[in-house]
């Protein structure tokens, strides 16, 4: 199936989310556009401060105001602009159609209620079923995410669950309403690698079972993207720098930043390098973004115009977008 035949589930158009901090404006998300199709895993990857989490919170309309506000843009979900909805309408979308799991499952679960209570509460709020039905559904969900003896474990409190089990419970909760879009914000960052492998496998398994659900996976870990996503967007300085199919991105990264990120990773499966390649300098602060390309100051091939003019996100080859003056799809823009 070619990309154009598939249905667009979520369309972000020029989203801008700003924060007012000490009289100045921090442009955390500054003109972000991308599409997520049905039944795809879309990765949003970036370092701290790149704006990836603010993007996901904007989609859920969970930006604290003040100091934050969605300045402009559109967030179309199944054709409807979420920014036009009232708070009550938005609350129905959350959980029912779009649900979210967070990095730290301990802080996202209420410690004074049982896992079962919290699962049933969500199910009953969104589907108005009886208590017994909600209990059955909750049991079924815990079973689906691989928690043994689910009916008994519903009576447990969050502290009685381990980190991996809490994340499973969060996934159960997020999926209990069969949402069209699951937003997973660094879902495995707080977990050990063997548990991370279990959770990633679980997320992909659940996607198969639920049919056409899509996942927006937000992470800083390129290896996690490589193993789970179909397409990926790389963020830096509040802007998308590159969008690509995953395989193409790892094979021939276009943007100098993506190239630098990939070559700075140690690769135990390959011949050992004595030294890692590094990206010089540090991530610019969102309080003082340079006017031109956000990566120019750290880019080894930057030209004077890069510091002056912000490049556009251009389609270089079909389905591959890159925000760089020098990338032309014919080998231009090789930095590392």
């Amino acid at each position: 199936m070619s990309r154009d035949d598939r249905q667009k589930l979520l369309e972000l158009r020029d989203l801008r989310t700003y924060f007012d901090v000490e009289g100045r404006t921090a442009k955390a998300v500054d003109g972000v556009s991308f599409d997520i199709y049905t039944n795809e895993v879309f990765g949003l990857v970036g370092e701290s401060g790149s704006g990836k989490s603010v993007t996901s919170l904007s989609i859920m309309r969970l930006i604290p105001n003040p100091p934050g506000r969605i300045e402009s843009g559109e967030i179309r979900f199944r054709g409807q602009n979420l920014l036009d909805l009232s708070f009550a309408e938005m609350r129905k979308i959350r959980g029912n159609d779009i649900s979210m799991i967070f990095q730290e499952p301990m802080t996202a679960l209420n410690p004074v209620f049982t896992i079962g209570y919290q699962l049933r509460e969500g199910i009953r709020y969104h589907s108005k079923c009886s208590k017994a039905e909600a209990e059955d559904r909750a049991t079924e969900m815990l079973d689906l995410v691989g928690i043994p003896d689910p009916r008994r474990r519903l009576k447990d409190y969050p502290h009685q669950f381990s980190g991996g089990m809490r994340q499973r419970a969060m996934i159960a909760m997020a999926l209990s309403m069969e949402p069209g879009l699951l937003i997973a914000d660094e879902p495995t960052t707080a977990l050990d690698v063997t548990i991370q492998a279990q959770i990633l496998e679980l997320m992909l398994k659940v996607r198969e079972k639920t049919g056409d659900a899509s996942i927006l996976l937000i992470t800083h870990d390129l290896a996690v993207v490589a193993e789970t996503c179909d397409r990926v967007a790389v963020m830096y300085g509040g802007k998308i720098q590159e969008i690509s199919e995953v395989k193409a991105l790892f094979k021939t990264p276009l943007h100098p930043y993506t190239q630098g990120l990939l070559s700075s990773l140690p690769r135990p499966d390959k011949q050992k390098k004595t030294r890692l390649d590094t990206i010089p300098g540090i991530v610019p602060s969102i309080m003082s973004m340079p006017p031109g390309c956000k990566f120019a100051a750290r880019c080894p091939i930057a030209e004077p115009r890069c510091e002056r003019d912000e490049p556009e996100l251009r389609e270089i080859t079909p389905g591959r977008f890159c925000r760089c003056h020098l990338v032309d799809g014919k080998g231009g823009g090789r930095a590392w």
Binding site: T194, A226, K247
Partner: protein, 340 residues
């Protein structure tokens, strides 16, 4: 000096022998001792001068406790930690009194995981780096100390002028550089690095790893590199020890361990590491069932047997010991060794 240093190899800097670190748990009305956490339960390894030993394992496996035990930030319950000092003396760190431990601490320093909480926010970076100097060389003149601080800052890729600034003015990667400069101030022989790059951004991690390798070469440093990120550990280490629930299950040269892991836990751990290459045909992933048991209720015999795909009834009986499978390569699993 210790009496039994006779078999302490000339080419050994640190010799950890059957170390146990147990934490008591108190409970009940009178806070009686009701149990203990066996965080480190009989660990032995050696480190040669100038090498990096990676210590890996999942949370709760005891790797951080082991590192802290070496510089006695936690009390060691049992065992010996032999260390060769600059003057050639071999001391057992476990038996040392506080006073006697102090000069040894100048020779073993530590770098911490969180560059945000391991630097005092009210002190200038210069004061932070100068503190170990004023503790260990109290006679040093002020001017000389300032000179040292500026020199150290430049060694870690910062500038001498930045000595007057405060930690909040630095980024995470720069703070970790400050932490490294502080650790190097006393010219240690050995540095214990506890997850030194895991709090840093991907593009910054490589900078700090390269810096640590440069400094190792320049000063002949020996690292005990504690981390959960296997790719980074494989890159920086000469040898790697894998810990599980307070024990080392496998130890060997980094490359061998990565290419031909023997212990079922090492194999599972490595197969769980995601690789940044989607075109790679990876071998069947060994997804382990369940989770690490609580160290409070450690299984009898082999601690890994509850999750091990090879477990047999005999595994419950005896704690397996490390046995050599090749030069410098030891594994604690009689089942794999028997099956070959």
């Amino acid at each position: 000096m210790v009496n039994d240093s006779a078999d302490f190899g000339v080419d050994t800097l640190l010799d950890v022998r059957n170390v146990k670190i147990h934490y008591p748990i108190h409970g009940g009305v009178f806070l009686r001792r009701i149990g203990e956490v066996k965080a480190v339960d009989g660990v032995s390894f050696t480190v040669k001068p100038g090498e990096t030993l990676g210590l890996v394992g999942e949370s709760g496996c005891g790797k951080t406790t082991m590192g802290k035990g070496v510089i006695r930030l936690v009390d060691v319950t049992d065992g010996e930690i032999l260390f060769r000092r600059k003057n050639g003396d071999v001391v057992d760190l476990v038996g040392l009194e506080r006073q006697a431990m102090r000069p040894v601490r100048a020779e073993i320093q530590m770098i911490f995981q969180d560059p945000y909480s391991s630097l005092n926010p009210r002190w200038s970076v210069g004061d932070i780096i100068a503190e170990p100097l004023s503790v260990h060389s109290p006679d040093m003149k002020r001017a000389e100390r300032d000179e040292q601080v500026a020199w150290l800052l430049e060694k870690v890729g910062l500038t001498g002028e930045q000595a007057d600034r405060y930690p909040h003015e630095f980024s995470g990667g720069q703070r970790q550089r400050v932490g490294i400069a502080r650790a190097l101030a006393t010219r240690p022989r050995m540095v214990i690095a506890d997850e030194p790059v895991s709090a840093l951004d991907v593009s910054i991690q490589a900078q700090v790893v390269n810096l640590m390798q440069d400094l190792q070469e320049e000063f002949g440093l020996t690292y005990l590199f504690i981390a959960h990120d296997l790719s980074i550990v494989e890159h920086i280490s000469h040898r790697i020890a894998v810990m599980y629930l307070g024990n080392i299950v496998e130890i060997g040269p980094a490359r061998t361990l990565y290419e031909e892991p023997v212990h079922p836990y090492t194999r599972a751990l490595l197969s769980a590491v995601p690789l940044p290459d989607p075109s790679l045909e990876r071998p069947e992933r060994m997804v382990l069932k369940g989770e690490v048991p609580s160290p409070l209720a450690k299984p009898s015999g082999c601690p890994f047997r509850t999750r091990c795909p090879l477990a047999e009834p005999s595994c419950a009986e005896e704690m397996p010991v490390l046995q050599a499978v090749a030069m410098d390569h030891e594994v604690a699993c009689p089942i794999v060794l028997r099956k070959g």
